[in-house]
Amino acid sequence: MSTRTSAGPDRTVPYDDLLTRYEPVLGLEVHVELGTATKMFCGCATGFGAEPNTQTCPVCLGLPGALPVVNRTAVESAIRIGLALNCGIAEWCRFARKNYFYPDMPKNFQTSQYDEPIAVDGWLDVEVPPREGVDEEPFTYRVEIERAHMEEDTGKSTHVGGSTGRIHGASHSLVDYNRAGIPLIEIVTKPLTGAGERAPEVARAYVGALRDLLRALDVSDVKMEQGSLRCDANVSLMPTGAERFGTRTETKNVNSLRSVERAVRYEMTRHAAVLDAGESILQETRHWHEDTGITTSGRPKSDADDYRYFPEPDLVPVAPTREDVERLRATLPENPAERRRRLQEEWGYSDLEMRDVVNAGAVEVIEATVAVGASPAAARKWWMGELARRAKTAGEDGSAVGLLDLGVTPAHVAELDDLVTSGRLNDSMARQTLDGVLAGEGSPTEVADARGLELVQDDGALQAAVDEVLAENPDVVEKIRGGKVQAVGALIGQVMKKMRGQADAGRARQLILDTLGVQG
């Protein structure tokens, strides 16, 4: 049934050019795999990466006679997501069967929601970062949410016998149903208009904001690369000033934030070329290719898309009480964007510092570090500096790991910083202490104790070292007395060397100057 007709890449027009004639309209459908312990309708575990077909049962294999039972936590997650997206929560809604045949769908219908979704009519404000040299301020866009509904995932097919594991040319496929039945929430936007040239960035910012929100809700691990967050992008163009939307295409398989932006941008340029040529857009699904940065034709909309929805007779309605909804509302976390603004203010970071922290995914860990007593500046200094640097090569064979995977806790960092500010350790000693913590030798204090790391607080030893160094360097002493105070640096190094690093360099400098009777 493949209708691929034209060989070779599609025509496109330059992006900036098309915006003079067309207005883009977006529609984004995001599927989120919930992080529940069990599947939507059965008690099978949902862990990622299990051996094939080890997380299946009569229900999620669609065996004869099996019946679904709704996962309570999945419903609660759906309601919390709906509330966080400012949606109304249905007082009564049902599941429906979406009937179509596909080998990775065990019952040949997907249990989903159709005309009675659990959450409707919400919004999410997203911020598109300012373009360098163009904007002063970020661009804020309100994404209107049409609905969020509950459904179940399908199994996973591997295509065998083709050249690259792709569907075309494969001789047969192998299906693993571990994923079949994992709870999904599908979040659908209303048609998004008025974003103009910023449309691709709005799409990206929306998916990013949604990801942050879902992470804050702790309902999903939202890993786009593992498919727990998946985005389908509907794109159409209408001539500037027109009132009716153009024909849309639905681009599937867009699994990174960057790809969302690129895919939307590409489709806009492709649509414009088709429309410029006086031709019309075919309503179809498109496949996004990360490697080449283009979309290719998938499946046209056809008569076969008659899903014969009807209310799922094996399930009863979901009717959340208003008390339940309010109880769940009380569990909502602060909106991630608002939270970010609040923290930036509390911590006194600059816009640039805050953006770096956000991009590094270090907001939570810095917050935790501040919470156990470190100053915001110190927390940022350690996590974004020394620790970020070490994380880059801390993996096996020198690969990068996440900040939280280093084995250093916020409490460790706060303690370490305290050792520095209290004057027990200098920076170089703190780094040595960190080595010990990373090596699993214990807390910073334990490591410093075990390794004998401690600044010498007694000026006696230091004064002796200073006297020795002054006696050994009469020429430098001459210079300093002659007014070249900066020459003191050469002497500090020698003093530190004599102290085997266990001294405060600042104190050494002071003693040298005092001994020579020179003002610093």
Binding site: T38, C44, P52, Y102, S171, H172, D306
Partner: protein, 98 residues
């Protein structure tokens, strides 16, 4: 008047993934036309203000706790498979979509 043409039946059979032979299609089309004509009488009675009843018992909010239960073993899962390979169900080549 025919309610259900032979083409209708062929289309619906396609939706239902039943590959009918021509003779079978002819026979079914004739019977189904008669049946559809007869069941169509449901249109005579119920008015717009009658709510549809999808379920005999007025239950709601039947859910289960999010607790893991034993799954089948992979051997059990695959025991009835017409074909299996590498602990997966082997199915013929899939057209269309990725």
């Amino acid at each position: 008047m025919s309610n259900l043409s032979r083409e209708d039946v062929a289309h619906v059979a396609m939706l239902a993934r039943i590959q009918l032979e021509d003779a079978e299609l002819d026979r079914l089309a004739a019977q189904l036309d008669q049946i559809v004509d007869w069941v169509g009488q449901v249109g005579e009675v119920a008015s717009a203000d009658v709510p549809p009843m999808s379920h005999p018992m007025p239950l709601a909010n039947v859910t289960r706790p999010d607790e893991v239960r034993d799954s089948l073993t992979v051997e059990q899962a695959l025991a009835n498979a017409p074909q299996a390979q590498d602990d997966r169900f082997a199915v013929p080549r899939i057209l269309d979509e990725e």
